[in-house]
Every structure is written in C-alpha cells, then in structure tokens.
Amino acid sequence: MIPELGQLALTFAFVLSLMLGVIPLYGSYTGNERALMLGKPLAIASALFAGLAFAALSYAFYTDDFTVINVASNSSTVLPWYYKLTATWGSHEGSMVLWVWILTLWTAAVALFSKQLPLLMQGRILGVMGWIGVGFIAFSLFMSNAFERSLPYFPAEGNDLNPLLQDFGMIIHPPLLYMGYVGFAVSFAFAIAALLSGKFDSTWARWARPWTLAAWMFLTLGIMLGSWWAYKELGWGGWWFWDPVENASFMPWLVGTALIHTLAVTEKRGTFKSWTVLLALATFSLSLLGAFLVRSGVLVSVHSFATDPSRGLFLLVFLLIVIGGSLLLYALRMRSVRSQARFELFSREVMLWGNNVFMLTATLVVFLGTLLPLFHQELGLGSISIGEPFFDAMFFYLTIPFSLLLGLGPWVRWKQQKWQPLIPPMAMIAVATLIVAVGLMAATQSVQANVALIGLLLGAWVGMSALGEVGQRIRQFGQGLAGIRKLSASHYGMTTAHIGFAVMVIGIAMTTTYSVERDVRMQVGDTVSLSGYDFTLLDLYKLDGPNFGGEAADLKVERDGRFITNLHAEKRFYTIQRTVMTEAAIHARLSRDLYVSLGEALPGDAWSFKVQVKPFVRWIWLGGLLMAIGATWSLFDQRYRRKVTRRLKVPARNEAEVAHA
C-alpha cells in the first residue's frame, strides 16, 4: 500500500512540475500575473509530493518490504536500521527518487527565498526548473521505477546492501553531491531566464550568485566526503582515483568554480556577460553529462549503476533537449550582446580571466582523459586507457602558474592596477612564503624531493598572500575591531576558500611525496617499524557482526618507546553478498595518518598487513572543508539580504550601479 502511495505521490509531483513548467512561463509571455503567482505554490507542492515519495520508499526499506524489487535487491533484515534507511539511495532507482526530491527542494527554495526577484523573472526561473523536474521525474517514473513490486512471488530475504556502502561517509556523500549537482540547475535556470528576457545587466548575476555559491559549497563537501570515504573504506589509503565517476563530479566543480569568479566580474563590472551565461549553462550541462555517464553505462567505473541502454537513451535525449536547446538559445540571443566595460591588461578582470583559463584547461584535461577512451573506441581506433600519470602530470603543471596567479589576484584592483604599489607587499609575502615553507620542511624533517618543495612554496605563497591581503584591507577600513567588522563577509569567504586551496595543495604535495608503506607478514607479538613508529600486533580474533563475520586485529603503536595509540583493523566477510571488505585502522593527526589494513591470511596463524604512514593527508580534506566554509561565509554577505528592503524604493537597474559604484 505505502509503495503505491509513494508512486502516486511521485506522479503528483510530475503533474505539478509539468504545471510549473507551463503556467508561469505562459504568464511571463502574456503578462498574466495570476499565472505567474501560481509558480510559488506549485513549486512548494511539487517538493512536498516528491518528499512524500521519498519517505514512502524509505519506509519500504525500513520495514523490509521485500515485495518491492528495489528493497529486495538492496537491503536485508539483518542490516542495521540506519543502513536500511541509507540503502534507499544505494541503488540507481532509489537515488533517482532522492535526486528528484532534492531538485524539487531547490525549486521550492527559489520560490521561497527570492522575494526580491521581479515576478516575471521568478516565473521564468521556476518554469525552467519545472521542466527540468519534468524530465527527471519522468525518468524516475517510467525508466527506473523504484516502487516496482514482484508480487506474488517475492523473496523472504533481501540481497543486502553493497558492503562498500555500509559506512557513515556513504550516508551523507550522495545527498551532498546531489545537492551540488542539482543546485547548479538553479544557476542554469537563472541564465536561461536571462536569455529569455534578453537582459544581461549585472542584476541576474547578483541574483544567481548566492545560489551558485550554495550549490558549489554542497558539491565541494560531497566530493570531499567521497574522497574521505574512499580513503577509509577501500582499504589501501588512496584518496583520489581519477575514476570516470569522480571525474564526472570534478568537471562541474571546476566549471562551477570558474562560474563563481566570473559572476563576480559580471556583477561588479558588467563585463564577461556572454561568457558568464555560457559558464552557467556549462556547469549544469556537465552535471547532467555526469549523471548520464554514471547511469547509462557508456563508461566503465567502480561506481556505475547497473545499466540498461534504454535508460541511457532517455537521458541522452533529455541532454539533447536541455543542453542543446539552451546552447541554441544562447547562440541566437548572444549574437547581439556586447560588453562595454573597459579594463587594462593588469587588472582584477584579467586576473579572473586567468582563473577561468586555468579552470577550463583543467576541465578540458579531465574531459578528454575521461571521454577519450570512449571516442577512441567509437572511432574504431581500438581501446586505450588514460590513467593517473596523465592526470597527475597535467594537474601538476597547471597548479604552478595557477597558484602564482591566485596569490597575486586578490591584490589587484578592478579596471586598472599599477605595478609599483604592489611590489613592497609582494616582496614581503615572498619572504613570508620562504620562511613558512622552510619552516614546514624543517618541522617535518623532510629534505629531498622537489615536488614537495614546490607544493609547499605554492601553498605558502597562496596562504600568505591571502592572509596579507585580508590584513591590508582591514587596516584600510580602520583600526582594530572596526576594520575587522567592516570587511564584507564575502571577502572573508573568499580568503578562507583561498587558504583552503593552499592547505589542500600542501596536503597533496606532502602526501604524494612522503607517504611510506610496507607490506608485512605478522604474527601475534611481531613488531614492524615504519617512519619511526613501531607497530606491534597484540591480538587476532574472529569477528561476529549482524550481517558479517571475519577477522580482527589489535595493534599497539609506539614511538621511541612512548605509547601513541591502539589500532583496530578488520577484515569483514559479508555473508549475504559474499564479499570481503577491509576496514582499515586509522589514527589521524594533523601532521600524519597511521593507516593499517589487514591483507590475507597466511599459513601459520599469520596475516599480511599493509602498514602506511601518510603525512599531511588530512590537509587535503581540511582544505576542501575550508573552501566549503568560505563559500558558506560568503553566503552571509549582507549584500544578498539588504537588497530586499532597498529594492522596494529603487528600480532594479539603477540599484546595481548604486550598490557597487
């Protein structure tokens, strides 16, 4: 009964989305205010019904309703209750319901929190969101029904959830990632609405900015959590794999980052107009492409869902309509638009343009690396594979000029900057950079290796420059607390995100250079030494979990005879899915991780162990976290809220100029 209600709710959400796609858009062309006003209630109702559908599916999982095929193949009675709930989005079908719900939630959020938008604009945006909703809900309903029953013959026990997904990281990784992917639909809808209206003044950019920042923040967190999850759950200590699905999430992130930066240019300076619109379209298009790559089976990946060409075909047609249609609209509308603002070669505009060049080059590298094998095969040139060395090398060379530019960028003024005034602060930052880099080198007792040194220098350069710049701005605004308070939230946000980048670069450079690992055979009582740490195997014993059995090992870590920590590593055997999982033991500190995983049983009561010491690996995720915090901080900028009251008095166009004159 409940699953049928869920399906019914999803069908209602479909109809409501369809109405949302038709009525406000109709209103925007006929000037029918009542049609435009309907946008908000329709968006909210659609989100409510999609939420009901998701709740119904979760309920089916929670109550082990194995008559529902999706539940039977992705859950079991012995699964702990919280994993039963997260199994809801462990499959393609279930995750589509979540995806749809999140999409309708974003739509409702736009309807609720965009009071300052002109009704006409709001109607267009909601209309576009409505059509995107129609596409995805139709995909969920007709191509991948999560509520399908297998009556009258249903299994008494389910197939269990893939053990890889039985982890805390997995509970929040997909929802966050979807929040990011789908959130870019909002920027996309803003851009389409701007295209439809034919007005590209800076207002649309200012309205789109907080939404883009929010989506970007979620995507950053989602990717970061995915990396952290892979690190601890796959059992060999890698944190990024250049897997096609990771790349699929990385591409919208890169273009989204470029978009955040050009939105600033378009908002404040009124230039880069057509470019910003194109980036807004591209960011969501790459999110859609990612969804297509993961769910259609054109690429081989550890993440892909089970595949079916008809699903892929549906998504491809959807892609053609959404991306192709929007790019066509773009080409037709943009031919007549001109950016007028002038700027010199050395100016903030050019710096941000440089950011875009690097972001897009990086995107191109990822895009080609991911899709070239497919192109190659389809052209009949045989199969090739592009792996880590290609990406690593390309990103290494891209990071160097990018970081140098990033250190300089925030110091440079809009329109025109003279060289001379920047020389003293830059020289001071360069000195600070050297001190910090050498200090870190000394503190970690690392000597050789150019890559690490370059990474430290670049990271320190970006970090010092960001700190120096924020310090200088504060001083400009006034003494002490007054200056600190006066600086805008979005400035602090930017600085935090840039420092996050610096921290991440340092983390990556140090981890890749100085990680050490050993594969050893150990019996109880054996000790192995690595990087000055002594790992002693204390005990080996059998495990008995709810849906798994296996073996566990307790270890003790000492350094120079001083006790550091106890470690507990497991090798689990999930009985229903008959798969083996490695639960690594990790002891995390800011300066290093100790990472021990169980390998195979060896003759004579011994096991093989992989023991690793990974310096600075936490900095990678800390950097990502700082970026997300930076984006959140920027969201609290007064600019995004003060407008509500002011725009009642001032007509939209003048206001933009007043605000940033």
Binding site: F292, L299, P309, Y330, G549
Partner: protein, 199 residues
C-alpha cells in the same frame, strides 16, 4: 564571423553527443584482447571430472573450437548453457575452462574437488551440457594469461591453437550470429583445406 562563434558550444556539444549515442550501444567492457591472433598460452591442467587426465595446448589443436570460461558461481554462465548446448548439437566443439572461486581458508572455506564435481554435474544436468570436457584452471593461471576479467568469456581458437576472437559477456544467438558464426565457418573451411594439403 564573430557572431558565429556563439554557435561553437552547440556544435561541440552535438559532436560529443554523437559519440555518447554510439557509445550507448557498444559494450564498454569489450576490449581487444592483447592475445588476439597470438597462440594460446602454454598450460598443463587437469580435467575437471577426471583429474588424472591432463590437458595441454597441443592436445587441443587440430580443429577450431570455442573455449568458454565459466563457473557454477556465475549466474550469467548458467543462463548461456542452454544456447551453448544448442551450438554443441549443431556440431560446434566447445571446451570449458572452469574458473574456481578463490578459496579463503580464513573464513573456513576449503576446496573440495568432489563437491565441485557434484555441483557442476547437477548444474549441467539441469541446464544442458555444452562442453566436450572441462579443464580445471586450478590456480586461475591460464585465465590470467588469457586476460580473463570476468565470467563468462568466450574465445574462438583456430586449428593451429591461435586465438581469433575474444568475447566478454554471455553467449547468445545475437552474439553468435553477429560475431562468431561467420568467423567460425571460415576457420572450419581453412582447417579442412589445411588438412587436405597436409600429406
């Protein structure tokens, strides 16, 4: 001129979607085996049912045949047994290469040939037996040398013991018709000619 530049994103996207479209209908797992047109690797392995009988490469040559890598633990292998039995009835020689699952003594599993033979017999009796005989790939070494990445996989080997075709995935009428049928007939013809010429 500059105005047409705005159509560039659309053009690029359309070009990419052509590849995405064709990619939908081709199997991403299919990849050209590195062993194609190379001789089958050397091996010396026991028969699954009569372990005292041992097989090697020379014993298999003489006529083209299909080498099918499979196991009772693999549901798709089960599904293809019926069609492959039809092939056998048409006179296509099919030799099985049995891929046993790795045994992990840590979990109390231990390898029992008798149990495996009973499982195989039950399955073949139930779904159909396409195999002339089965070679037991004890250490999965031959599968490794053949570049097997999953089950089922099917190789077409010619009369000289050269690998002519490698298919990953199940054998069904469509795969047989589109990929194997013609190639197999040609190899059969070639083998006949070869035998006639041979003194």
């Amino acid at each position: 001129m500059r105005k047409w530049l705005f159509f560039a994103p659309l053009a690029i996207f359309l070009a990419v979607s052509v590849f995405l479209y064709t990619g939908l209908f081709s199997d991403p797992w299919s990849r050209d085996s590195a062993l194609l047109n190379r001789p089958m690797p050397e091996f010396d392995l026991p028969d699954l049912m009569q372990p005292q009988q041992r097989w090697n490469r020379e014993l298999l040559t003489g006529e083209p045949f299909l080498l099918s890598v499979w196991g009772v633990w693999c549901p798709t292998c089960k599904a293809q047994l019926r069609f492959m039995t039809e092939l056998r009835e048409q006179g296509i020689p099919i030799i099985g290469l049995y891929y046993p699952l790795p045994v992990d003594p840590a979990f109390g599993d231990h390898f029992s040939l008798g149990q495996l033979q009973r499982d195989v017999q039950r399955e073949l009796a139930y779904f159909g037996d396409p195999y002339q005989f089965n070679i037991l790939d004890e250490n999965r070494r031959l599968s490794f040398d053949l570049g097997v990445s999953g089950s089922p996989e099917t190789f077409l080997v010619d009369a000289d013991g050269t690998i002519r075709m490698h298919h990953v995935g199940d054998m069904n009428p469509r795969v047989w018709r589109n990929l194997f049928a013609t190639a197999f007939e040609e190899l059969q013809q070639a083998a006949l000619v070869y035998q006639e010429v041979k003194p």
